[in-house]
């Protein structure tokens, strides 16, 4: 413990809001995201309470519609998309590649301010009376029929989009230009590869969303005929534009999770990731092919049958690199020396839940079944397995893994394992019944439903209460560890990776001297033993 670290560098509050330190900006993002996760979670809780019975008994139909819209908008744009990239990515990327900071530190701070501004505008729309279009904002409902604060909310999303673009840009330049001497592309940890792929999507796809939202607002406010057929527009044009962004955005929401899981599995199996190059290129293959599947959201919309055939085909193709990753993670465990610390439990949970999400994605890519299942709870269950079972689980795993590095404190291991196991069970209990509901034909976004669907809804709501408690647990014990946790050594897990070669927490400029890399990543044959603290 020599000298100051990035936390003790300057104690004034103002120093946090003017900081250009990527580590502090990561903390700012983290605090902001916890806030949004909480708001989105409250909406989800109210939704599950309402759905415990078939009738309307807690909220009105209009309120219910606002709740699921708020849940979707907040969770997608203000939690999932920035989650791993802007917190763990922001903190870890420069450390992992041996850099002092991101390439554009001030741009990094600006993107946080843009994010806060966008979030505030969206929250303003919500507290003014909300928005009832669903997060998908389908026209012409959103442009001419909805009597809610669509334009305001859309403006908030538009602003937050620039935060995404700038973050993506910052990562791309950083990964290209600021790698430590000797750190060639194939020596990069796979977390960097997946964040690179994520950044490419952020930069290429987000502008399309921005344009789409501008067009939507132009029609809503000024009656410019773009999407409403009564004034010469085409409603399906909106869906094409929206999904051209929003399908790649799904990969923004899962690639970083896959990246984290690579680090966790390698560290706790104490082995190099099996098929490193295949996993690395699989990330980029997903990013590229992910741009060519948007029409699978529109199989029953009236798009041509030929288009549906092509999009179905491409959707199966994009599943191949995901399958490659799952097989490689499993193969990595073979002949490992596996330890079951909490981060590893999250990583194993990720593999199981992501695989279920991925396999049910194949169900939905399958044309004849999608005709039946689209817009039912089957879809709801599927994407929650990917986004919550996948991304959020990986996020918690990464958070525990790097917690000692970020805070300089160890978290309580037994509590953390208990929470990981509870999250796994709570999650499955919440969302598996929704597959059954969808297969039985219950449509999504239903405030009231036919009585025969109740049993599965009750199970789902029961699971949601377990899940809510499981998600709250880490907030308590992690907060506790900030003050009472044992001091973390520089490398508690005996992990490879440059971020573990500096002190915990790292100094303001990350490294006391410039690290140099002369070997492959994940060289666990020569890594130090894990330390029991």
């Amino acid at each position: 413990m020599t000298g100051k670290n990035y936390l003790t560098d300057d104690y004034r509050l103002g120093s946090w809001f003017t900081t250009t330190d990527h580590k502090r900006i990561a903390i700012l993002y983290f605090a902001t995201l916890i806030f949004f996760f909480f708001i989105g979670g409250v909406a989800a809780t109210l939704i599950r309470i309402e759905l415990a019975t078939p009738g309307p008994d807690v909220v009105s139909a209009d309120t219910y519609n606002r709740l699921f819209t708020m849940h979707g908008i907040i969770m997608v744009w203000f939690f999932l998309i920035p989650s791993i990239p802007n917190t763990l990515g922001n903190f870890i990327v420069p450390l992992m590649i041996g850099a002092r900071d991101l390439a554009f530190p001030r741009l990094n701070l600006a993107s946080w301010y843009l994010f806060v501004l966008g979030g505030s505008v969206t929250l303003f729309a919500i507290f003014m009376g909300g928005i009832d279009t669903g997060w998908t904002l389908y026209t012409p409902f959103s442009t001419l029929y909805s009597n809610s604060y669509v334009s305001v909310a859309v403006t908030g999303i538009f602003i937050a989009g620039f935060s995404s673009i700038l973050t993506g840009l910052n990562f791309i330049v950083t990964i290209h230009k600021l790698r430590a001497p000797g750190l060639t592309w194939y020596r990069l940890p796979l977390f960097i590869w997946s964040l690179y792929a994520t950044s490419v999507i952020l930069v290429l796809a987000t502008p399309v969303l921005a344009i789409t939202l501008v067009l939507l607002t132009a029609e809503r406010l000024f009656g410019v005929g773009i999407f409403d057929p009564r004034i010469g527009g085409d409603p399906l044009l909106f869906q094409h534009l929206f999904w051209f962004y929003s399908h790649p955005a799904v990969y923004i929401m899962i690639l970083p999770g896959m990246g984290v899981v690579n680090e966790l599995i390698a560290c706790y199996a104490r082995k190099k990731i099996f098929g490193y190059k295949f996993v690395a290129w699989a990330s980029l293959a997903i990013a590229a092919a992910g741009f060519l599947v948007w029409g699978h959201h529109m199989f029953v919309s009236g798009q041509s049958l030929t288009a549906s055939l092509v999009f179905s085909f491409m959707s199966f193709i994009v599943a191949v690199p995901s399958a490659i990753k799952v097989f490689n993670w499993t193969a990595t465990l073979h002949k490992g020396k596996i330890r079951f610390d909490a981060p590893m439990l999250y990583a194993l949970a990720f593999i199981g839940l992501f695989t279920i999400g991925g396999l049910t994605g194949l169900f939905l890519a399958c044309l004849a079944f999608d005709v039946y299942a689209t817009d039912t709870y089957f879809v709801v269950a599927h994407f929650h397995y990917i986004m919550v079972g996948g991304m959020v689980t990986a996020y918690f795993g990464g958070l525990h893994y790097w917690w000692p590095k970020i805070t300089g404190r160890m978290y309580p291991e037994y509590w953390a394992r208990a929470a990981a196991i509870l999250i796994f069970f709570g999650f499955n209990l919440t969302f598996f019944p929704q597959f059954v509901l969808g297969a039985e034909g219950m449509p999504r976004r239903y405030h009231v439903y036919a009585p025969e669907f109740q049993i599965w809804n009750v199970l789902s709501s029961g699971g949601a209460s377990v899940l809510a408690i499981a998600y709250l647990l880490p907030m308590f014990y992690l907060a506790y560890s900030l003050f009472f946790g044992a001091r973390a050594p520089a490398n508690p897990w005996g992990a490879t990776g440059l971020e573990w070669q500096t002190s915990s927490p790292p100094p303001r400029l990350n490294f006391d001297r410039q690290p140099v890399v002369d070997g492959d990543p994940y060289d666990y044959a020569h890594a130090p033993e894990p330390q029991h603290v």
Partner: protein, 313 residues
């Protein structure tokens, strides 16, 4: 009782319903096998290679690309198989409607309005005969809705500004749920109906019992006069407008040199946007009826013009 909680326990009642059910079961079996294999391997490795367990960890560095090529190829082949299976049934579901019995459906916030060719109209219900394909012509009055009958394993969005034609057929009599599956505003969850599939004799009795004063085409004919269409399109009008007798289903030469078939969509567009496709040899003088008539009336006009198909001009 407990069987109602098992998905797809009730077979789909459409001609391809069994195919969709089989596809679902096939997907279930395939994914259960893959998931089971993965979980088995993960569990096996986690137990056998747990830290502290003294086993052989000698690294035989098997050429990793053998495995990579193996499971990539296996995934690809399996996925392409599933693609082809799903696509084949899909094409069967949306085969071009045989123009048999046409029923018209208008979706609007938050109800389904159904009109039968005989003039029978119903709300949130659709009576149909079993074992006979019914061609549904669907239109939306306002936002996007989606016509979803789980028992028929069928769904199609109803997008404003266009007609969607789908063919439905039920093979067993019964009452089946009709849901709106595309979020459409406040009472989306209450935009429900039922499809009543009846034996042909019962259906005929139902049609007779509903005993409308006039058929859909007759209603259209009355509207045709009321809106003043007949002033130009009929008899010895001084205004030079195309005659509509014998028009339906025939090719129409347009002023820009192209030709279109006079189908439902063409008629609809010609009433709402008369200047977009002007028949060759005529002046674009017809006013638009956009905003003056609703989708249900439009369908009556189309039915009327359709009924003139066999009349000699």
């Amino acid at each position: 009782m407990w069987r109602q909680w098992i998905p797809f326990w009730h077979e789909g009642v459409s001609p391809y319903g069994g195919d969709v059910d089989l596809l679902f079961r096939g997907l279930l079996v395939a994914s259960t096998l893959v998931l089971g294999l993965l979980l088995f391997l993960i569990l096996l490795f986690c137990i056998r290679y747990r830290a502290g367990n003294d086993v052989d960890r000698e690294n035989h560095e098997a050429k990793s690309w053998h495995w990579e090529i193996g499971w990539t190829a296996a995934s690809l082949v399996a996925f392409l198989g599933l693609f082809a299976w799903g696509a084949a049934i899909f094409l069967k579901i949306y085969q071009t409607p045989a123009d048999d019995l046409s029923v018209f459906v208008v979706a609007q916030q938050w109800m389904w309005k159904v009109q039968h060719p005989g003039g029978q109209a119903e709300i949130n219900a659709l009576h149909m005969p079993i074992n006979r394909p019914v061609n549904l012509v669907m239109a939306s009055q306002d936002v996007i809705h989606s016509f979803f009958i789980p028992a028929l394993r069928l769904k199609h969005d109803v997008v404003p500004g266009r007609y969607q034609s789908i063919e439905i057929e039920a093979m067993r009599p019964g009452h089946y749920h009709l849901f709106c599956a595309e979020y459409c505003g406040t009472d989306h969850a209450r935009m429900l109906g039922e499809v009543v599939a009846m034996r042909p004799a019962d259906y005929a009795a139902w049609l007779a019992q509903q005993a409308p004063s006039s058929s859909l085409a007759q209603q259209g004919s009355a509207l045709f006069r009321q809106l003043g269409c007949s002033g130009c399109h009929e008899g010895s009008s001084s205004i030079h407008a195309p005659r509509l007798e014998g028009l339906y289903g025939k090719p129409v030469p347009l002023s820009d040199g192209s030709t279109v078939i006079a189908d439902d969509k063409y008629l609809r567009d010609s009433i709402l946007l008369p200047r977009s496709q002007v028949a060759a040899g005529y002046q674009p003088v017809m006013p638009s009826f956009e905003g003056r008539i609703d989708e249900a009336q439009l369908l009556q006009l189309v039915a009327y013009i359709k009924s003139l198909a066999t009349v000699k001009p």
